[in-house]
Point group: C2
Chain length 230, copies 2
Amino acid sequence: MAARTPAPTPAPAGPGRQPGLRERKKQQTRDALVQAAHGLFLGQGFARTTVDEIASAVEVSQRTFFRYFANKDEVALAVMADAEDYFIECLRRRPAEESPLQALRAAIVQSWRELGAEHRSGPGSITTALELMRMIEETPTLLAAHLRRVTEQERVVVRVIAEREGLDPTTDLRPTVLAAVFGSVLRAAHLSWTPEQEPAGPEGMVAVIERHFDQLGPALAGHWRTVTPR
Amino acid sequence: MAARTPAPTPAPAGPGRQPGLRERKKQQTRDALVQAAHGLFLGQGFARTTVDEIASAVEVSQRTFFRYFANKDEVALAVMADAEDYFIECLRRRPAEESPLQALRAAIVQSWRELGAEHRSGPGSITTALELMRMIEETPTLLAAHLRRVTEQERVVVRVIAEREGLDPTTDLRPTVLAAVFGSVLRAAHLSWTPEQEPAGPEGMVAVIERHFDQLGPALAGHWRTVTPR
DNA sequence: GCAGATTATGTCAGCCTCTGACATTCGGCA
DNA sequence: TGCCGAATGTCAGAGGCTGACATAATCTGC
């Protein structure tokens, strides 16, 4: 959860130690900035919110804002980033018996469920996160930045899968191809998710995701016209 | 090939008619802007090139630049955009007997080969295009914009495939899933392409693409550890 | 508890991207 | 030739973002 790009030092405190006043304060302003930004974004739109507004809502200078976030996009994508980190953690914990694809699928479902259960309401709740996702999808520049982040995560997935299966991703293309496929199916699912059609909350999303993964086999099968659709 | 976003009118000239001086001039300045931009970008980097430089290289005002391109990114992605359009054209022409995945694969290979043969050298050549691709991959903001464009193309692919197979993409998820998978495998291939390892020119790229698609089946197969890698 | 080293923040000045408004020039056409 | 509309130029300004430097806060060892 440490600050992202131009970020202040990533907390020199040892594991488990009380972080010290300075660190706590930093975390505090960072959180405040994220909160304020999200509120403003959802209220009046991303483009119509200036960095100055966000900064002065938290009573820091604009310059300070840019010391926490490399750009305006980044503060909007902060929640997503945390969720992605959690997904990677889940993936790392999946039992070795599962096939790579099974592990990925299980990890994504698990992370949605658990994050959903963890924070049910308030700012930073799963509902806010879903609204934010929607906004991202509707804001070209945000969508662009988001997609870039996703591809970075994909590289991490390649590494984790390769380690898991004990092979070299530069020789064997399967981890790369699998990560790519996984990412894209997931995104297709996110895109087709709408709060109107699906039950709100994580369960709705999980359902959509499962539905999309179920179509992976059929989609790649030979001739659709000679195969029964469902 | 008409100008993109804030673009001047998309040529009111009828099909086959001589476009008229005004239209020709517009096309000319547009091309000149693209050329100048690419030259500067490749020479001194994207970030270190200002819009003013590009504009004055073509002797137009900065304002005019922004009437042709919505932003600096767009002029950098112009070549890619044309290539993508050509790919869609190829896809539309693929024989109906091919399975959806076969058609996609054949169309991408075909479009690379034919574009490669068409302009062998000079600005706008396939070599320049490949250098540009590299630059895009290395420039975060460009990469982001590019990825967004790609996902837009993916929607077109969904439509074409759905028409081809005569089904409704809102009910049947296969076109969506297939397009997503196709796009991601393609991108993985692009990423792993390097002018050092592969033969330069389109054939090198085609080889990399084929290699990645060949791994699609194996990557999705159950347990890798019990299957022979190659 | 204090002095000195670190580090976060503020201030300021400035570049660059992008936009709206209005004036001017140029091509198309009767 | 003369009018109309489209393309371009000019200008002014908002907003994102950065480097440099000064100030204020925390931390560290004594």
